[in-house]
Amino acid sequence: MIIAVASGKGGTGKTLVATSLALSLQNRKPVQFLDCDVEEPDAHIFLKPSLNHKQVASIPIPRVDEKKCTHCGRCAEVCAYNAIAVVGEKVLIFPELCHGCGACSYLCPEDALSELNKGVGVLEAGQSKGIEFIHGKLTVGEAMAVPVIREVKKHINRERLAIIDVSPGTSCPVVEAVGGSDFCLLVTEPTPFGLNDLALAVDMLNKLDIPCGVVINRDGVKDSKVAEYCHKEGIPILLRIPLNIEIAQLYSKGITLVEGMPQWRGAFIKLYSDIEQIVST
């Protein structure tokens, strides 16, 4: 099973939930943890994996063979991203705009374009407390997170329970990270920001046709609108984590909830069995 942990709003506790879920289940079944928040991957701070594998995540960028090029302009014409311009006798390539679709090199009538992999991030993998750990890291200054996420997701092992930590928001990196999951846990907080962004995330999951459930973190603020929304939409609230300074301080030190407060382990095991039940029906 693949479970994605997403949120819409940032800083609601995705990584807190994802890491504690993984640790609570690792002695019951084989677990794989994939940190797909490649812009700001933080799960390693909590799971402290020993990383023994590293590879580059790249996109194929066109390269011109000046000897073969006749400057016909076909490559620039087919590029939907304006990543190639042919100016007189010169072909200009803008790698930061290229999506690596490969249309230009395939369609070049002179076979003058080849592709060169340009690294946009790295993937690192290893072991952590019985969990198979993989994360992607977008290189600072690079814009495109999706190719790095795609690379991480190639390593999903269907034999294991795969838990995916997702970036905040609802646009392309989130869609890429969540796509193909069997279930998505949405972590929110009971504030107007939490509610607004939860509703956006639910719309996205409806479009992707992925079932979801909600975790309310920092519960206890006197605002019941998130619960009312979930009730109205028929979305189950699977776990509530209270607003608690001790939990916040554990988090600040990079200690997972279930390691700092082992009494929470049972709640995460139940969370998983509730998800299993929802997915199987």
Partner: protein, 285 residues
Amino acid sequence: MKETVVISGKGGTGKTSIVASLAALAKGKVMVDCDVDAADLHLLLQPVTQEEGEFWSGQKAVIDEDKCTQCGLCQEVCRFEAIKDFKIDPISCEGCGFCYNVCPEEAITMQENLSGHWFISETHYGPLVHARLGVAQENSGKLVAVVRQKAKLIAEEQGLDYIISDGPPGIGCPVISSLSGVDLAVIVTEPTLSGMHDLGRVIGVCHHFAVPVIVCINKYDLNEYNTSQIEDYCLNQGMRVASKIPFDNVVTEALIQGLPVVEYSRNRVAHEIEGLWQIVSKHLA
């Protein structure tokens, strides 16, 4: 006219609450919400929309079933796994047009894609430009560029001194689009190991694009040891920690009331944010 953006790397450090308060404190400004895929600033500024428009960006492939002979070439060439059983999945399609260009039957057309909407609104604190990216849409960076451009025009027309933007989390495309060419980035961090890790990466992006930075530590008293680590780190990098905001429930209370915190309470949080605005405005002067 000077432009500043509030970013954070890590999400949920308090960007929007701080921007709303800066909006209440600054005179002669236009606000921009650059977090176009999870915009929240409007919840604190209570905007009344004056003008709105559609944001069309990119294209999606569409297969004409009557012309398609199911030769499979389009599926073979598509690198985004967007074509299965001779049907396009519009969510996976990145609009490259490879399939359209190779189809021997000319059965594929590329259709313009409505990716979102932008809004120009009036608020109690001045004009706000914001947007809503469509569900599961791409090109958030381009929509950010659109809202920033509109804010610039408003600032020029009305002779405003400042553009104050609420940035998105992360370090990728929409952040780069929010950041390029601004006069100052205010980075809001928190004294957690995650916040510190992400701070390092977002500072790297600011350096990469040569944008000056000041740092604000929110909820600094949650972990004072980490706060002192951040201060040391910033000092070593030649950057200034402009403000340390204490953890206080008034921030959430103000949020629930739909008000900038400086308008809700005159306590120590408001006092710190006022100090932050003085430093920011001095930087921009």
